[in-house]
Amino acid sequence: MGVEVAALMGFFGLTSAFALVAAIFAAWMAWRIVEKAGFPGWTGLAAIVLTLTGVASIVPLVLLWVFAFMRWPRDGAPSAPLAYGAAPAGAPVRSPAALAPPSVALADRRGWRLSGSLPNGGGVAFVVHDTATPYVLTGAPATQPGDLSVPDPSVGQPHACLLTAASRLGLEDLGTPGGTFIDGARLLPEHGPRDISAARSIRLGSVELTLTRA
């Protein structure tokens, strides 16, 4: 009789030891899983501990469903900032599955028209489209395809750079005495390229150019 009792006790001991190991293992794995989703690890541990209490074994099941369908901190804010054009350098590269589609209307694909009159009575008009190479605004006659000639003594040779990227227009002053102005504000060479997609006019030396969408 004593042998049977001992065997039964041993069996129960073995099973409960096995269950304990399994529970600890499960808690450890749950800790790691919720951490990967961006939650504190103890939330996963707590879910497994709740399973052991028995009285609340439905709660971890509900928690599993909640965890599956809730927003995870890993996914970032619900309205993630949209990146236009190339991703900034150093940004983590994620698989396309993690990238949310843009939720706003696509950018305006039209080009820009720069037009104005020269002090000597002439007029200039350019149409600028998305290109990889920058346009150069210069006072000299145009020699290369990207040259936009503004024949006026106050315009430097070259004077400024027009850059296009992903339906945006940028302007960079190349350091001329005449100066470059965006809507009346001075653009210095140390400012680098500035986005003028929404600007109304730019001034090169004494030549005022009106910026509209082509």
Partner: protein, 80 residues
């Protein structure tokens, strides 16, 4: 005598069927959320079908999710 055997066999198969259906239902309750977790982590949703394996299936799914890097990206370990 043969009636008795037929009874026992029929009852046994019925019990087995009930057991199988019950297991399937329980597994389904686990598979649906796990399918979504697996796809959000970047794995195939079919990984959650391991829940159909009795006893150790859930451990396999959890181990894969816990110990292999998520293809869809993980939260940085130091918090954000």
């Amino acid at each position: 005598m043969s009636y008795l055997i037929a009874w026992v066999l029929g009852l046994g198969s019925l019990a087995l069927l009930a057991l199988a259906i019950g297991h399937l239902l329980v597994a389904l309750v686990l598979i649906i959320p796990t399918w979504r977790i697996c796809t959000r982590a970047g794995f195939s949703g079919a990984l959650s079908l391991f829940h159909l394996v009795p006893v150790i299936g859930s451990f396999i799914v959890m181990a894969v999710l816990a110990f292999s890097p998520w293809p869809a990206g993980e939260a940085s370990p130091g918090g954000r």
